[in-house]
């Protein structure tokens, strides 16, 4: 009985989230365009996330290189470290780790902000003031996360590779030029494009789940906390599911 109830709740949540996503898809291209709010959100979501994304990206590249090195030395392929690290960061680790950090920072803040606006009647006040709160708050945020995450991933990947360069040079000496030549020689269009495209979906999911949880928040301040928390948990799980689907699709399309 309890299991049936949990399944019902889960299915209802999936249905409601899909309905929310559909509402976004049918509304984002219709006027009134909230361009000012979109730009403001791009600044908050993109620019203000840069220090965190940059720092974690740098550490990620550095640590990955240092962890990889002993095994590569054992197999006698130490010279291939830049190539392997480059592929790992560009294809998988960069997009996924950046998206997870993004979900933690932005997903939770959107969930908490909209949740707090909901319980303090600010969303109702917007509606009364001649504003479609869905377009003003939700559409602008989902578009901002969708367009900002790919840019953040490119920056994070680049900073990560700088970290990897430092990691290579801790025990060895490799010129800056040689490192980058090795990285770019190992990468092809098939590595970069699918990885780049999937980041749009990661960004969309972070925005969608954050907005959905916040916009449908209830039960006062307790509900705000829950919205923020579940926004991070659900969007993180969905990032992995999208990643899984993306790898299957790219495999089917012959990109691997």
């Amino acid at each position: 009985m309890k299991n049936t109830s949990s399944i019902n709740i889960f299915l209802k949540e999936v249905g409601d989230t899909s309905g929310f996503g559909w509402r976004f898809l049918t509304q984002w291209f219709r006027p009134r365009y909230e361009i000012k709010e979109f730009i403001k959100q791009c600044y908050i979501i993109g620019y203000k996330s840069l220090p965190l994304i940059g720092l974690t990206g740098f550490i990620m590249g550095l640590v990955l290189t240092m962890q990889l090195r002993p095994t590569m030395v054992d197999y006698g392929v130490e010279s291939q470290i830049p190539a392997i690290v480059g592929i790992a960061i560009i294809r998988e680790i960069g997009p996924v780790i950046t998206a997870l950090i993004f979900a933690g920072k932005i997903g939770s803040s959107i969930g908490a902000e909209l949740g707090s606006m909901k319980v303090t009647e600010q969303i109702d006040a917007m509606e009364v003031s001649g504003t479609n709160p869905f377009k003003y708050l939700v559409v602008s945020r989902i578009l901002a996360t969708t367009f900002m995450l790919p840019i953040l991933v490119i920056l994070s990947d680049t900073i990560s590779l700088y970290g990897a360069y430092l990691g290579v040079n801790i025990r060895n000496v490799t010129s800056f030029q040689l490192f980058w030549i090795q990285v770019f020689d190992s990468l092809s269009f098939n590595d970069v494009l699918p990885a780049f495209i999937k980041t749009y979906f990661f960004g969309f999911v972070v925005g969608l789940i954050g907005c959905y949880k916040g916009y449908n928040s209830n039960k006062g301040t307790e509900g705000v906390g829950k919205s923020a928390n579940s926004a991070v948990v659900v969007s993180s799980v969905l990032i992995f599911i999208i990643d899984l689907l993306a790898v299957q699709i790219t495999d089917l399309l012959g990109f691997n």
């Binding site: 009647e121 600010q122 009364v128 003031s129 001649g130």
Partner: protein, 249 residues
């Protein structure tokens, strides 16, 4: 002729309004008429459907049946754009004030001016913001954030935001709840002052007897979703009906 004048003076007419949430019937055949320059206080216990009533009026909730005529137009038949035009003539003071936390007082007041599809110049907007803040004696808070203000000040700012579009009807949702008695009395005085200065009609949702006593021209007692009794404050306090008496004891 007298009948016509009587009708022309009605700014809000509610007929047979019904609203239920599942099995819980909140409003049941509720009727109300609000005239120009009249303050009606709807008195009721917590959870009696008072807030649901004004949320139906402003279009935040959709009633199950009945009609809500605002300036002789049934608001339930209007599309989004028409409803927005009607809403521009209605001020709504939320119980929680609903000030936008991320905006300054100035931006909070400018928000409805910029959003209602009415073209004001920057100078006009500036003048209207200053005037609205002056009306509530808080002109000095213009560049402050809502979090920096006290509860009473926030209520006044919310009232200034409600007034900025010079509404013909103002809906007050529990305007004195959560305020100390002195600040509560100041807000009541302000409500009376606004009515006299701008000739607005107001529907005040409250369970505060002071608010009923000082701000009402007429009182409606909402019980079990129906208009149980109505009349002037002076008449209702003399009522022998136990259910009416409990509100004034």
């Amino acid at each position: 002729m007298i009948e016509n004048d009587h009708d022309n003076n009605i700014v809000l007419r509610i007929r047979n309004l019904n609203k239920a949430f599942g099995d819980n019937k909140v409003l049941s055949d509720f009727n109300l008429e609000l005239y120009k320059n009249q303050n009606i206080v709807v008195l009721g216990k917590s959870g009696s459907g008072k807030s649901v009533l004004i949320k139906c009026i402003i279009g935040l909730l959709k009633p199950d049946s009945g009609s809500i005529e605002i300036f002789n137009k049934n608001s339930l038949d209007l599309n989004t754009e028409e409803l927005d035009k009607i809403r521009a003539k209605i001020g709504f003071l939320f119980q929680s004030n609903a000030l936008y936390d991320s905006m300054t007082v100035r931006d909070n007041l400018e928000f409805p001016l910029r959003r209602h599809w009415i073209n004001y110049s920057q100078d006009e907007i500036q003048k209207m913001v200053v005037q609205a803040l002056t009306d509530v004696q808080l002109a000095h808070t213009i560049d402050m954030m809502p979090v920096e203000l006290s509860g009473g000040m926030r209520k006044r700012i919310a009232l200034a935001r409600t007034l900025i579009l010079k509404p013909e009807i103002i809906l007050y949702d529990e305007p004195t709840t959560g305020l100390d008695p002195i600040t509560g009395k100041e807000i009541i005085n302000l409500m009376v002052e606004i009515k006299n200065k701008y000739n607005t009609a107001s529907l005040i949702i409250s369970h505060d007897i002071k608010c009923v006593k000082y701000a009402s021209d007429n009182v409606i007692i909402l019980l079990e979703g129906k208009c149980y009794a109505s009349g002037k404050y002076e008449e209702l306090i003399l009522s022998k009906d136990e259910k009416v008496k409990q509100f004034f004891e």
